[in-house]
Symmetry: C2
Subunit: 200 residues, 2 copies
DNA sequence: GTATAAACCTAAACACCGTAGGCAACCGAT
DNA sequence: ATCGGTTGCCTACGGTGTTTAGGTTTATAC
């Protein structure tokens, strides 16, 4: 019985691919074992249990999302950067639906405190820097931004929008505008930075 | 073998109770059968499959949420009604965590088009009426409101906030304020209705 | 009372999860 | 190259869950 060259990283990466190809629910120990042509019990040499695989998948997705956010916000500021941040989420959800679904699952303490999660938060902070918020307001603004973006994507991906992609795109723009406006008018800060007026 | 007086409604209601008591994932055909002291196979006289039970649970939760929203927004207008709408969601999620989790699952076409879902949307429209939005903007505003509220609750319930309930309450107020501001400044409408100024 | 429909059961097949112990492959030291 | 120890893979097993098919029992209508 040749060794299949498995490792925790390989199993988690396979889980990510499987999630995107067949959906989050399809990520089972059995399905992963079939993918590597080994028996399910063999995977327990590399991963503690199914939950551990899903935790790893969650963290991998956070890391990839952070990279995409960095890419989409680089060299941008204000509403432009905000749009890049939001757009990165939406693009990631589109291109990696299964990975994105993994991020919607209740996160374990370890995942909440992971380096990848911190990176995403740091990138959001960088985008918010242009809004000149007081330090003690940063956490509230970060939560609002994260909540709104993810809430919108969850709604969109749940099929609540029907097949109206044209209307969804405008809803998206409205949402980004709303966030920008809220941030600029934030209590104790958010001086208008008038890079791009929101005349409608 | 006495008949257990089962019905589809009884099974779905039991699923809701089980979800709130033990979590959404604990809602299985086997667990429900144990609850009624029958064998799992017996439930298929009343429900098509597990997915049908979960669909029913989703719709039941939407109906209950609609009732709570109606209660919390009655006699209120503007930001006050908006706060009531948002508060109803938060209260429901708190008091019925399992039911709420059921509503976060991908919804089936039938559920999206259900009377209960329509009722929730209608109530959101009623709250938005005070903001005097153009008809063609209503759908975008509705999506933003739904997305922000649900997104916030998903974040909060996922443990991302840690145990900082004091800080979560302020984040919540900031989020409601942000929504109110965005709605009042909405393109093509949203005249300031100055019922309660947002001086900070 | 009888006939029928519906509700319940058993049996079975299938899928998934994870543990324990055994065997084979691999690696490092000599 | 050989040997010993470690690690990775397997089998076997016990447990949980899902759903279908067919049989038995209960309830209802006439």
């Amino acid at each position: 019985m040749m060794r299949a060259n498995l490792s925790q990283e390989a199993v988690i990466l396979a889980a990510a691919e499987l999630a995107d190809q067949q959906g989050f629910e399809a990520v089972t120990v059995s399905a992963l074992a079939r993918r590597f042509d080994v028996k399910p019990a063999s995977l327990y040499s590399h991963v503690r249990d199914r939950a551990a695989v899903l935790d790893g998948l969650h963290e991998l997705a956070l890391g990839e999302l952070a990279a995409l956010i960095a890419e989409e916000t680089a060299g941008r500021s204000g509403r432009d950067a905000l749009a890049g941040l939001a757009g990165a989420h939406r693009r990631y959800a589109r291109e990696h639906p299964g990975r994105w679904a993994a991020m919607q699952q209740p996160a374990r303490e370890q995942t909440v405190r992971s380096g990848e999660a911190a990176r995403v938060v740091t990138l959001i902070w960088a985008v918010l820097r242009a809004y000149d918020l007081p330090d003690d307001e940063l956490v509230h603004a970060t939560r609002l931004v994260g909540a709104t973006i993810n809430g919108f994507l969850a709604l969109e991906r749940s099929g609540s929008f029907g097949h109206r992609t044209d209307s969804a795109a405008l809803s998206w723009e409205r949402a980004v505008d709303a966030l920008d406006l809220a941030l600029r008018a934030w209590p104790g800060g958010g001086t208008s930075l008038s890079r791009k007026t929101t005349s409608a």
